[in-house]
């Protein structure tokens, strides 16, 4: 039994890696129809494997849980890799943004299915108005030379708070219009139809991501001026603050539905394989395109040498902020997807010890390697939560705790044998930078001719 399970798990992990390789390979094809068919096929294969054919199911419910968890983790870890691996800013705050995304999206859909549209309205208007406020304040501040960071931070903060207040008023004013259409949880109205719920879920995930991004902007603006190590500590503080707020969300924050430390229950389980796949692919494509554009090169140059980057005309502070905001957006989206598959949020999940998980994954997969991050996210979840948990539980009820001894040892060995991470900076297919071929003829005049004459 154990041997069979072990072999089965290894086959599954290898299968997933082969699947990821194939997916990235097909995405790299130049023909856009081949690409489209490939992606739809990749989606369909797993969808079929998840389908229950009268008792026969290739991927069990346990596996599908792991799969969704791995998708969420991929998004979070890719975001962190953008911040730490590509931009060089050591951050432990990713888990806080993950939590913010999870709770925000969960609150929107929870309220919606319970006949309260304020969650969506307030968060929706809040993020849009807040985003506009931040953009316009930023444009206005550009007119001045040498504005201290804390002054601009104060202005941004005031703008964001005003936008939030306005959003609360709008939400309260518009809510009565929605109430009759929503119905109650026992007697759902037209806006609680399955289709409407899917749209609300999509909006909830996007708004949760944007909200996390806006929080990260406000937090990052003053904190990113700190040096790398200090920034790490400050972001750790952020994760702890978010966690404490979660634990006390029903007492010091006005969110009784989050139930504080007891954990938020009754979140509609809206994450299907379609959504998990959709958001994960969106994150992968956005990040890959960003990295391979001029903006991405600017982000990487900051990691390589800040002084030289400045001397090359790159707005170092701006690049850091951009990477941090985009990375947090990914974390927020990942959190939202996670919340709707697990259906239950406990502050314990977002504690600061767990905040090291994405960090371990990106170091394991290779800093600055997107492929490594994706592979490590899937590998990590399936190895730690899948294989080891089941395998060790055969040896006694307390034995699963041993996985927290086994995997640090694995990590230690990897760091000794391959300090650059599992994949180093190898990228697969779609994620690989296209080689630029040297040009055949050079029509440019060269000084070498003069040198040889001299």
């Amino acid at each position: 039994m154990e041997l069979g399970f072990l072999l089965g798990s290894i086959v599954k992990i290898l299968g997933i890696l082969a699947y990821l390789y194939g997916l990235l390979w097909v995405l790299a094809r130049p023909n856009r129809w081949v690409k489209l068919i490939g992606v739809v096929g990749a989606f369909g294969v797993v969808q079929l494997a998840l389908t229950d054919f009268g008792g026969f199911q290739i991927l069990t419910n346990f596996d599908s849980g792991l799969l969704f968890q791995a998708c969420a983790m991929t998004m979070v870890a890719l975001g962190l890799n953008l911040i730490y691996g590509f931009n060089g800013q050591f951050s432990l705050g990713q888990w806080g943004f993950y939590g913010i995304g999870a709770y925000t999206a969960a609150d929107i859909t929870y309220r919606w299915v319970n006949g309260d549209a304020r969650g969506l309205l307030v968060v929706g208007f809040g993020t849009i108005l807040g985003g506009l406020a931040l953009i316009y304040i930023g444009r206005w501040l550009k007119r001045f030379r040498g504005v201290p960071v804390l002054s601009s931070f104060t202005l941004y903060l005031i703008g964001a708070i005003l936008a939030g207040t306005v959003a609360v008023y709008i939400g309260n004013a518009l809510n009565p219009m929605f109430e009759p259409l929503l119905g109650t949880s026992l007697n759902p109205g037209i806006l609680n139809s399955p289709l409407a719920l899917q749209i609300v879920f999509f909006l909830a995930v996007v708004f949760a991501g944007i909200f996390a991004a806006e929080v990260s902007f406000l937090f990052g603006l003053p904190v990113l001026t700190l040096g790398s190590d200090y920034f790490g500590i400050a972001t750790l503080g952020f994760t702890i603050v978010v966690n404490v707020l979660m634990i006390n969300s029903d007492t010091i924050l006005p969110f009784p539905e989050m139930k504080g430390g007891r954990g938020m229950v009754g979140i509609p389980k809206l994450t299907t394989w379609f959504w998990a796949f959709f958001f994960m692919m969106a994150v992968i494509i956005i990040m890959r395109n960003l990295i391979q554009s001029s903006t991405g090169r600017a982000i990487i140059s900051v990691r390589e040498d800040e002084v030289a980057a400045k001397a090359m005309g790159i707005d170092v502070a701006g690049s850091k902020l951009l990477a941090f905001v985009v990375g947090s957006f990914f974390a927020g989206v990942g959190g939202a997807v996670y919340a709707h598959f697990i259906g239950f949020l406990s502050p314990g999940t977002f504690g600061f010890l767990q905040s090291f998980n994405p960090l371990i994954i990106i170091v394991f997969g290779g800093l600055g390697s997107m492929t490594g991050t994706i592979a490590a996210s899937f590998g990590w979840i399936f190895f730690l939560e899948g294989l080891l948990r089941v395998l060790l539980s055969q040896m006694g009820t307390e034995a699963p705790t041993w996985r927290f001894v086994l995997y640090p040892i694995t990590l230690l060995l990897l760091m000794l044998i391959r300090p650059q991470g599992l994949l180093g900076n190898i990228e697969w297919g779609f994620l690989k930078q296209k080689d630029v071929l040297p040009r055949e003829t050079s029509a440019v005049d060269q000084p070498e001719v003069a040198a040889s004459k001299a």
């Binding site: 030379r145 040498g146 956005i286 395109n289 960003l290 391979q292 554009s293 001029s294 903006t295 991405g296 090169r297 600017a298 990487i300 140059s301 390589e304 040498d305 002084v307 030289a308 980057a309 400045k310 001397a311 090359m312 005309g313 790159i314 707005d315 170092v316 951009l322 080689d435 630029v436 040297p438 040009r439 050079s442 440019v444 005049d445 060269q446 000084p447 070498e448 003069a450 040198a451 001299a454």
Partner: protein
């Protein structure tokens, strides 16, 4: 007075690090098309002057006027975007990136597509990215580096790293180029090539160049006008010939009495 032909005017520039006056009452004027040198013994404050011009340090007092606008208090990247590029004394390439990417990064401020185009990888991105890559390759070709474009920068030999750094600085499309000891660590043959190269880029890109150098044959060979610093102050100015005969300069380099002995 600042006139049209003046590109850089530094007046009374002073920088104190705590109680240490690294640069004191430094004056310098560059006209368009100048190829001037800044020399002085170790620790004279030459690199500090460069760091003050490029905004890495903020001056304690004094003014720096570039193209008739004061650049004191601007961020380094803003100064670069105005048209001042530099190289570093200890090479500061983006060492884990390819040679081509090193040059392409310098193009970032001039990129004609935005972040949104980059994320979408749309047609605008394709067109301008190709254009940008070709421009970067042009620069590499000028420096004879076109075949090394896909090499990782840190794997190149020293002399070529210097060339990449100059190519990268030129890709910023500067009006004024500051070279900090470009010949450091080069062998005599490489130095000859470098001198040709500096002349070449000076003419071809219509540049104004200010260079710090210890190798006297470089300075005396290519600079039209030289400023000598010692202990943060200007001790002499003049043509290479005048400088070579200046007593104070010889004293600063070789010590008191050496001038008489020579």
């Amino acid at each position: 007075m600042t006139t049209i032909s003046t590109i850089l005017e530094i007046s009374d520039l002073t920088k104190f690090f705590g109680g240490l006056g690294a640069v004191r009452n430094f004056d310098l004027t560059l006209k368009k098309g100048d190829l001037n040198g800044l020399i002085g013994p170790n620790g004279a404050g030459k690199t500090t002057v460069f760091n003050l011009i490029t905004g890495i340090y903020e001056p304690t007092a004094g003014d720096i006027v570039f193209n008739n606008t004061s650049i004191v208090g601007l961020e380094p990247f803003e100064i670069t975007r105005l048209g001042i590029a530099r190289t570093f004394q200890n090479i500061r390439l983006f060492s884990n990136l390819t040679v081509l990417d090193n040059v392409r990064i310098a193009y970032h401020p001039h990129t004609k597509y935005g972040m949104a185009d980059g994320i979408l990888h749309n047609r605008k991105f394709d067109v301008h990215e190709k254009e940008l890559t070709e421009k970067a390759q042009d620069f590499l070709a000028i420096f004879g580096l076109e075949n090394l474009q896909n090499e990782i920068a840190k794997n190149l030999p020293y002399g070529q790293q210097r060339r990449v750094e100059i190519a990268r600085a030129l890709a910023c499309e500067p009006r004024l180029l500051l070279l900090d000891e470009p010949a450091a660590g080069m062998n005599p043959r490489e130095i000859l090539e470098l001198m040709d190269l500096i002349h070449f880029i000076h003419d071809r890109f219509d540049l104004t160049i200010l260079l710090i150098e210890h190798q006297m044959r470089v300075v005396m060979g290519i600079c039209k006008y030289i400023t000598v610093m010692d202990f943060g102050q200007v001790i002499a100015r003049g043509t290479p010939k005048e400088i070579q005969e200046n007593e104070r300069v010889i004293e600063a380099y070789l010590g008191k009495g050496a001038g008489h002995a020579a």
